[in-house]
Symmetry: C2
């Protein structure tokens, strides 16, 4: 019962029998702790027979290595940070879920934090990542907070951004092709006969919001419709912002016949303001969102929107980070990560007021 350990000539005050560490495994498998370590880390030089014996002991005792000790000595925490702007916008939980699944699949733990667009929170958040020694950080705030992120970049922590980010050896950027989906949206509207199209943009600070607006303006011009400045309003990417912007539009003298929104939350706000005003979508106004969050399927009416795959985004982010961390230095060339966007037509878009009847006359009513 007493200390029968093999090479325990010195130290280790108490040899409590319940202690479950690499030493216990080594003792029971009759090997050194180094061999156990090698076995666990699947170092190919271990004799298969011995490895088998070690694994058996490990499984029998349901042993797993202490991650803290491991991290301390190896310098790798196997934790990936994920910074999002607002966890309460349904887009993000869907993204987080994907990120978690993929990261865990590769053996990483994740550290999620939301900034709520608050620089103070952002800076706390970076500090937390630093303290926990994350192996890499995905900055999915869709904005660029360069000064703050400096701390991470300086310490050579692999970083991945969306749309745009500082240049650097360990920095990747996921390029979202907003143009494709937004152009489809504008063309869809134009094809229905809309010429008076408003855009509810997101916060100025968000690069992605700017990109979406740019894509809109450009697509409008492509369709030969000059975008009207009074019809480009701030939607803030929130329910409330969408409602407020729509009210502003309703109060104006000249009403657009369609509205594109920089995200789905804004569009849902618009839907609500229309409902409040006693107006109908799409009869009185066509509405297009952006993101295609799950709930967009059941808004009233179901929202026509631009789909951006959170799963693709999550996978690309994890892969980009892994490429840096696990350093396949054989291929130091930057990978290109492109994310597609596509229009999903539902029922919030239709012909502009007035044209419907005429068009109906032309084509016989469907059964």
């Amino acid at each position: 019962m007493a200390d029968l350990g093999q090479g325990t000539k010195k130290k280790r005050k108490t040899a409590s029998p319940e202690r479950m560490d690499i030493r216990t495994i080594a003792r029971l498998a009759n090997v050194s702790i180094a061999t156990v370590s090698r076995t666990i880390n699947r170092i190919p030089t271990v004799n298969p027979k011995i490895a088998k014996r070690v694994w058996e002991v490990i499984e029998e005792l349901d042993y797993f290595p202490n991650t803290q000790a491991r991290a301390l000595v190896s310098g790798r925490s196997w934790i990936l940070g994920l910074i999002v702007s607002e966890i309460t916008n349904p887009f993000f939980p869907e993204l987080i879920q994907g990120f978690e699944d993929i990261a865990v699949e590769h053996g990483y733990e994740i550290l999620v934090s939301s900034t709520n667009h608050d620089p103070k929170r952002m800076s706390h958040c970076i500090r937390r990542m630093l303290e926990r020694k994350v192996d890499g950080v995905a900055v999915m705030t869709f904005g660029i907070e360069a000064p703050l992120l400096e701390q991470l970049a300086q310490r050579k922590i692999p970083l991945v951004f969306v749309d745009v980010g500082p240049d650097g050896p360990n920095i990747s950027v996921l390029k979202v092709d907003y143009r494709h989906g937004i152009r489809q949206g504008v063309q869809h509207l134009a094809a229905l006969g809309h010429r008076k199209i408003a855009f509810l943009r997101g916060p100025l600070a968000l690069h992605s919001a700017q990109s979406r607006l740019d894509a809109f303006s450009e697509s409008m011009r492509e369709c030969g419709i000059p975008p009207k400045p009074e019809w480009i309003l701030q939607g803030e990417h929130t329910l409330e912002g969408g409602m407020a912007a729509m009210q502003q539009l309703l109060a104006g003298k000249d009403m657009p016949t369609a509205v594109m929104c920089s995200n789905d939350m804004t569009a849902i706000g618009v839907l609500h303001s229309m409902y409040r005003a006693g107006l109908r979508v799409p009869d009185d106004l066509s509405v297009i969102g952006f993101d295609n969050i799950h709930i967009a399927e059941v808004t009233i009416p179901p929202l026509t929107t631009v789909q951006m795959s959170r799963f693709d985004l999550a996978r690309a982010a994890v892969n980009a980070l892994r490429a840096c961390v696990e350093g396949t230095e054989t291929s130091p060339q930057k990978h290109e990560y492109n994310i597609q966007t596509d229009l999903v037509v539902r029922e919030s878009t239709g012909f502009p007021r007035g044209t419907m009847k005429e068009l109906r006359k032309k084509s016989p009513t469907k059964k």
Copy 2:
């Protein structure tokens, strides 16, 4: 430039100047690492003058202790686990946000994971918590997965559950008073004149769902309305479940005049099915949800629902865990954590079909 360290007679191969650890601080402050450690941990016996000097060096170098090393030696990770069922149900992100804020405020990091009601995921998730050596776990799945959680309980990891949980020294349970809010809902409906009230319940496996149903049945009886079994359907706590259940109700010969739902997602599904069927809420059917997620304010029509504070829930959970971890052994008595629920009346509830006109005649139309 060479090794001038104070007591570095032996070891420490490379003394790279950029190394930023407790030793650096000790050297620059002219004290031992023990004193630095004590200072950081605010041990009162440290001479204030020396402490001040140490803090100055710490701040100047922007030093912070290595959490891994700290955790390794102290046995405390300062990580709190949070297990939720589905991060994509908006209720949970709101809860997570609160949990994160409160935990971080007290110096903890959080490890969130969602099980999606999948036992396999649940078990992975528990393993991850174990591997990262969390100091405590909040199991906010609103269901009870006793067998799986055994692993955590056995290792004496502080646990907190909602509604119901195994008994044990380190286990707390947050009691949600579903009855209060649900009774208010039923009474609200009864007061409007409803007698035909259906209930769309959540998954059987979820204890909270069962409690909500029980509260409903009991409240119905209190109001003298015997609940009708055919009107108690499975809503699954999802959009899709709500839609399907409502369709079932619509297909039945006898339609209720009101529906209470076990959560808001279900209610949103109901709203959508009604819209699809060309029926109106609340004119043709009154609908009440549960949770009061943010989006319930802008559904069409805005949802009457029962509010359950995620913030209270989050705060109670963190406090319960902290009480165990930080062990104020002076008060080993179990704290009682009660969470209130309250009805929030919006516009998805109204008089049952037919009664409205009569009632209107009685009271003059409001201006």
